[in-house]
């Protein structure tokens, strides 16, 4: 256990014994890279294999690298849960990292401000405590619901940056959501997907607080993006090469719409979308079919206008603004 993060190596024993890799690629997300030497040493000793660290980004289980032939026999990705629908070239094994919280210390402040039933959602590191959280809330008289996910999520209640189906499936039956997991990123995702109030049980802040969102300001900003897309003569349609982020068919459909509207469009294939690299092309604007969160969360990082597929279609009068919704994997994702 390092920094409150526990890794239970037993989870991958069966897979590793089956695969018997001589060399594995070890992927860690940014926040866990300080543990890289420790984790690789344990894996190397436990399974008698060499370990090579991956030094590129690792944004999630959607982001499994294509490794040149012969370098390794398997990939171990730490800190994320398998996306059942995503299949990689090399066999990939997912080693979950767990953060176990003493839930009672959080809940007394929240019990009175919540109206039953509430929906429970959690990020990968906290999935193992969903049951305990429900019990603890039940003891305080609060009813809870947990929704099923999709073929991208690993179990009920699990949310991903691109996939809030476990929240959407119960949204009409709950007063609000409680997110077991830190930070605003997933809370914003759940809010965008459901429109419900979202409370965050935040391990770093050691408290529960409600996400504050200014929906109107957000929608105003997205409306401005749509207007700029509508004015664009040249539009780049971004397609990700990441194995779990590629929506090529959707990108091709968008390209056809752009061209049939008399504009100039071009497909842009990228592994990692870097703002300064996008700017080099000098297109009037871009639309991203890669990770649905790029255009929404990272718009301040980009120098260029970056819209979602739905925003492009509104700008081309193919979808009405009143049907606006946020991009996620239910849109244009073919398995």
């Amino acid at each position: 256990m390092t920094g409150g993060i526990e890794i239970d190596y037993d989870v991958i024993d069966d897979d590793m014994r089956r695969l018997k890799p001589e060399r594995v690629i070890l992927q860690l997300p940014s926040g866990m890279r300080r543990m890289a030497l420790d984790v690789s040493e344990r894996i190397s000793r436990r399974y008698g294999c060499d370990v090579v660290l991956s030094g590129d980004a690792c944004f999630g289980a959607c982001d499994i690298p294509s490794i040149p032939h012969g370098i390794a026999d398997a990939i171990i990705q730490v800190g994320h849960s398998e996306m059942p629908s995503v299949r990689s070239e090399l066999p990939a094994v997912f080693l979950p990292a767990r953060i176990t919280l003493h839930l009672d210390t959080y809940l007394d402040s929240i019990a009175q401000s919540m109206v039953s039933p509430i929906g429970i959602i959690a990020t990968s590191q906290h999935l193992h405590q969903i049951g305990k959280l429900r019990e603890a809330l039940s003891r305080r008289g609060i009813e809870t619901l947990v929704g099923d996910g999709s073929t991208r999520t690993s179990c009920p209640g699990h949310v991903l940056g691109c996939d809030y189906s476990s929240a959407k499936s119960i949204a009409s039956s709950v007063s609000s959501f409680l997110l077991l997991g830190g930070g605003r990123f997933h809370a914003i995702g759940a809010r965008l997907a459901t429109g419900k109030r979202v409370f965050i049980l935040d391990p770093e802040m050691k408290t529960v607080y409600e996400l504050e969102v200014d929906d109107e300001s957000l929608l105003r900003r997205r409306h401005a993006v749509i207007e700029k897309l509508a004015d664009s003569k040249t539009i780049g349609v971004i397609v990700s090469t990441k194995i779990g982020q590629m929506r090529m068919k959707l990108a091709e459909e968008l390209l056809a719409e752009i061209r049939s509207a008399g504009r100039t469009g071009q497909l842009l294939l990228v592994d990692e979308l870097l703002p300064e690299r996008l700017r080099e092309f000098g297109f009037d604007s871009y639309v991203s079919t890669a990770c649905p969160r790029l255009a929404l969360d990272d718009s301040d990082r980009f120098y260029d206008i970056l819209g979602t597929p739905i925003e492009l279609l509104i700008s081309l009068d193919k979808i009405d603004w009143s049907d606006y919704r946020f991009d996620d994997w239910s849109f244009g994702w073919k398995e």
Copy 2:
């Protein structure tokens, strides 16, 4: 012709007729991405194929992307020349971009300051004028030599960021080098590889000037890197996944040396080496077996100590400091 850059599409006609691709990936280096729409439209019309732009970096012919299966049938890389020894998964076709200079306007200022014979070197965009440059200098009474390259260069006189063999092969026979091509990057490379004076015929500055280098300060900085490598308990050995930059065997040898010296070493596989991502691992220092120029030219961009293979070996007392030389593809590169 755009911005003084001419592309002669005839060059790839034979290859394209043979390959008959339905869809090609088009790679352009940063400086040429403003031409992307124009180039892709011409290729699309000329060969009746779809074009998808590559939005990732393209640092040279060493940097040909692995494209997920079924997306395209071929790659066209613009602005670089083929590296004969580098073989990519998808067939790659190299479409040279040429910048043609009116050489006489440059040469009068230089004729008196040069001592025969001088070695002529050129970057990809200027290779077609090597012959004309030699004639023009000969008319002014200056003798020239052009050296053969290696299996990475495309013709005599050609220099790459990692490969100055065409300069090294004639270094002992010339007073200095004249580089046909802009910027300091390749001039510094030729200087480091040969120790000779280097003059730059710079198309942007529209003049010839001598590269000013402070060798002592450079060597002092590299000595400081070696001392920090010598003090490092944990060292990351970087290996590139880029098809023409991978020196896995060298990396494995360095790792073995690190470990036999009682330090902790780990292989780090990267596509693009980003400073902020390296920092996340928190190793004491790093050594790069990727592009030889990363550790030398980009050291200001990195927060971490980044040494070359030779510098690591000096720090481990395997090579003497008096045998210091700059990293290039003659070191540890197995074809």
